[in-house]
Symmetry: C2
Subunit: 284 residues, 2 copies
DNA sequence: CGACCCTTTGATTCTGGTCAAGAATCGTGG
DNA sequence: CCACGATTCTTGACCAGAATCAAAGGGTCG
């Protein structure tokens, strides 16, 4: 895991980062369904990926292919701020993200709001609604994107007919469970700065797995969102990022402080692990 | 090192007799498979349940019935400390809890340990292993109990054959996702005392849903476990419980401080909600 | 250009973590 | 049945990290 550092894609084929903006029209060339879904696009990135990330990427592409073949879903374009579904709405569809980024926001009976998950290309949206027929959270686009709309009935029907499809769906749910747990682990066991660091690492790994640049992240969220997701205040997030930058573990892009460069991912990962970082809620 | 926690004898034929060694003899009348599964037992409790809890209870019983009818699993008795599976072991079976309580423990690459979930009768164990063929965490029994052993292949096969079974399984996974998120919400948005309070409320509701007493909880875990699960130190847990007791929101049982009485659940829930409790990682 | 939001940074407060001592409980062996 | 040692739990004193309050700088958009 340590040598994760050098799989930089030649920026030749790589696209300019999108400016995070609120509700303006976005350049679709990057995140557009077709361009990002095409096999040659993935090929152009694959050689630079680590074996593991590459395999994951491959599995994702295969899964998406299975869905397209068996379910033949319709697609839909979304822009930053668009809401795919809201908590409480009757559940009947799930979504597969072809491009873009989404946040899932839960609300408790009293007004507490919590970003419980971030989702990207290849992830599914809506599974949490299966259990009681209503969506359990809001799904909000953080950027221009594209999703496949998949009626749950059709999906279930397809699952019972095609074992590979069921396998894909079960894997996706299983992964979602695991990822949720990783978040919990992070929040419970890491001090704030390490938590921010790990968040960046996770984002980077996540991008790598999707065949995207992993060394230059463009966070599509405010410090407040970030803090909420990580269980700290926006001021603390800001301070932690500044400190990480001061310690040369990250750099801010010239295109604004939401763009973050990770010069050496292994070193950042190491900071999390060996860090001064513990929160000591030790077991036994 | 109490739980040297080795695997139970896995010999297909013989079930080990229930012989609690270092743990006190438990009264099995409540948690025993047969008694708790019997319809009249559930009837004897149902009248005291809220409508919602009762429906949930009903759904759980139906689901368990479906499993027994369609998969015909073998069962296995476990004692406190027994380990059903460990992180990293090849995944091939899931488990359905007939009785007892389990904790799921995740470990990060560096040594951090985190109890990511608590599971009870009607819950499933092992779903998180589907995605990459290996279990993602340890499953440890916190008490004498009984699980159905369900080979995943058989389950998948059954799912493709019987829609209701698939429905049950999908619901179970969906629920697991939602619950994981609730944990995250709790850890991220509540101050420690409110978090402890909410934990107790959740446990109580959970018991109610299973047709068990909801006003007298017997926590089967140490303060350290509790703290770990809730993301705080054991000392903080202790202080919070003491404070809750001082404020009459809970009472300690005469059978030890792991037994907790909730005289008025609504009041405790209200404390969480209206509480002095917020952690203010407010969104926007 | 000005209004608004986002971000950073500092000063201060306070919750919760750390360290330590003592009490209660459990399990074991006599 | 009791005594002893080992855990587990509670409580206090102290301290650190993160929340809160406040103000100023930067970007973006109308």
């Amino acid at each position: 895991m340590s040598s994760a550092a050098n799989f930089l894609p030649t920026s030749a084929s790589v696209k300019p980062p999108i400016l995070p903006s609120r509700h303006t029209v976005h350049d679709l060339s990057i995140d557009h369904f077709d361009s990002e879904m095409s096999a040659d696009h993935s090929d152009s990135h694959a050689p630079y990926l680590h074996l593991q990330a590459r395999q994951a990427h491959q599995r994702m592409l295969e899964a998406m292919q299975v869905i397209r073949d068996l379910v033949k879903p319709t697609a839909k374009v979304v822009r930053a701020g668009d809401v795919l579904y809201r908590a409480g709405q009757p559940f009947d569809t799930v979504f597969l993200i072809n491009a873009g980024a989404f946040k899932l926001v839960s609300r408790s009976l009293d007004g507490r709001e919590q970003i419980v998950s971030l989702k990207f290309r290849g992830d599914w949206l809506g599974f949490s609604g299966i259990a009681n027929g209503r969506h359990a959270c809001d799904a909000v686009a953080m950027d221009t994107g594209n999703v496949s709309i998949i009626p749950y009935d059709a999906l279930a029907e397809g699952c019972s007919r095609h074992t590979p499809l069921m396998s894909v769906v079960h894997s996706a749910m299983s992964t979602e469970i695991s990822r949720e747990r990783e978040s919990l682990m992070s929040v419970c066991t890491l001090a704030s700065q390490a938590r921010v660091a790990e968040f960046l690492c996770a984002w980077a790994r996540s991008m790598a797995q999707r065949g995207l640049r992993a060394d230059e992240l463009t966070l599509r969220m405010t410090r407040a969102d970030l803090g909420n997701y990580l269980g700290m205040t926006l001021e603390t997030v800001s301070r932690c990022l500044s400190r990480l930058a001061r310690e040369q573990l990250i750099r801010f892009g010239e295109r604004g402080r939401r763009q973050i460069t990770i010069p050496d991912l292994a070193r950042l990962e190491n900071y999390v692990i060996s860090g001064t970082a513990g929160k000591s809620t030790h077991l036994q």
